[in-house]
Assembly symmetry: C2
């Protein structure tokens, strides 16, 4: 397994996931001059996670496919794995947090997957999934720390740079780092002129901290409204991609994340979950602080919002 990704790897992934993931549009925002929004929230599972999951599962051998897949997820990766498995008529098991959003659980089950509720943090769920995998002989589909997953997410970056002319910077949310690893690779392989900026919640700055000190490191606790970005320790593979390709990481408060989610809903008429609007929150923060209105894009990475959060955002 190589720890680098070529442009050819990404275009191959693009062909592989065709018919599973969707080529989402990038639209100019109505509410912000020279801001572009990459609509991953328009995917069939309402998040970018379908790209990596499809690329990974479609790369399995026939024997592996027969055994079935398992994963641990706060929801969107699990939904993506369930969706791809459903299309391929494979068995899938998804380990969700005890406090999983009910709608996400129902969406996963509507695709015929088995759900298991366990723990509250990503690392706890990973251990549980590992146990089930060993006892049942299933194939584990990593949520982010996997080269095929990262290559799948990279297709998003390739589309973005093809579709938005004269792009100057891209803002990407970071949980475990799979999406930004893929996007940064695609972008930098195409152009060194475009800066790639990661965005993490202030209450969950694991990749930010790791990048600043130059060593992969975790955080004790993670508290953020953006549940999809709550990861206490990034992966070693994603960390190596971030070190190599990402220009900077900015932190945003829960208040800023809610502000961006509201702006997307009320001014752009696009539904995003807080994790899905975090990149826009980072973009808007950098604009406010620098006063510069360069041509930037934000990945709107997902729309699987809880009813409670929705009612708060829509007030």
């Amino acid at each position: 397994m190589s720890s680098s990704i070529s442009l050819e790897d990404i275009t191959k992934a693009q062909a592989r996931i065709h018919g599973y993931a969707y080529r989402t549009p990038a639209y100019r925002a109505f509410s912000e001059e020279s801001v572009w929004l990459k609509m991953e929230c328009f995917q069939p599972v309402r998040s970018f996670k379908i790209r990596g999951a499809a690329n990974k599962i479609l790369s399995l051998t026939d024997d592996q496919m027969k055994r079935g897949v398992i994963t641990a997820s706060s929801g969107n990766h699990g939904l993506a794995v369930a969706y791809v498995a459903h299309k391929l008529k494979m068995n899938a098991t998804i380990v969700l947090p005890e406090n999983a959003i009910l709608e996400k659980k129902q969406m996963i089950e509507s695709l015929g997957a088995r759900t298991v509720l366990f723990g509250r943090q990503q690392d706890e769920r990973m251990k549980k999934a590992d146990e089930i995998q060993n006892s049942e002989g299933l194939i584990f589909i990593q949520p982010f720390n996997d080269i095929e997953i990262i290559t799948g997410q990279a297709t998003c970056g390739l589309e973005l740079i093809e579709d938005v002319p004269e792009l100057q910077s891209v803002f990407v949310p970071i949980g475990g780092g799979g999406l930004i690893s893929g996007i940064a690779t695609a972008i930098k392989l195409k152009s060194n002129q475009v800066r790639v900026i990661g965005v993490q919640p202030e209450g969950s700055p694991s990749m930010y901290k790791s990048l600043k000190i130059g060593t992969l490191s975790g955080i004790e606790e993670s508290h953020t409204i953006a549940d999809g970005l709550s990861v206490r320790k990034p992966g070693d593979i994603t960390f190596s991609f971030v070190k190599r390709y990402v220009d900077d990481i900015v932190l945003v408060s829960d208040e800023e994340i809610i502000g961006a989610t509201t702006q997307l809903l009320k001014k752009e008429h696009v539904l995003a979950e807080p994790s899905g609007a975090a990149a826009l929150a980072g973009l808007l923060k950098v604009r406010r602080e620098t006063g510069k209105k360069e041509r930037s894009a934000a990945i709107v990475s997902g729309a699987n919002i809880s009813k409670e959060m929705l009612s708060k955002i829509a007030q």
Copy 2:
């Protein structure tokens, strides 16, 4: 000008509007077995209106394009005209109702178009736009009663029948009838097996009434939460298409429309305005009444919802 549309006319329109309108996905609903949703709410202007507007404006002569365009609209058609004009660097004037949704007005103005507020009903706005057109020499872009507009909307039907295998019925919202005229033409030219069902609000049943009595006729008053479907008199051209190609029209209450809008938001994680969810309301009503779960699609036609309505739906 022909009053019929061929498959070749539709594929030509498809090529013409490429790069303006988007080929939207059709997804299986998570919440309803064998229901497919055609996501016109994912268009750059968040409604299907971009298809007709792009086809019409791109069919103008160079001289007509130089003069600039004008239209009357409750919002979505105006936004679409403004968007296409902006892309083509043309002048555009949009006559909106006095009680226009502020967000729609702002979106239109963010595209550099002039807005004029006048009256509350579509026919009043049409007269006002006609006056301005005459005094300023602009080109009037009809919202629905125009063969090029209908041909543009037909591209939506062509995509749907290509993308959803073994489709049995399609539910389409009706205001002036442009969308259903186009979709029904495309569907019936491809397959006589697929039924096309129109959906109108109980409080604005102008096409329903016209179809039942067999003669184009208007209604005195229109009262519905689905502002985009509030048209007191259908067009003569759209009426002739509906008579020829549409199998039936069902009426839905405001309560049923709100229910479908809520279901899209909370269970499918897709934002739609009430007019945009009316077709799903009709589909669900027919399912309840017949008990049949055939493979059906509903056009989710737009997402430009007001803040007030959003907060009501999201509660």
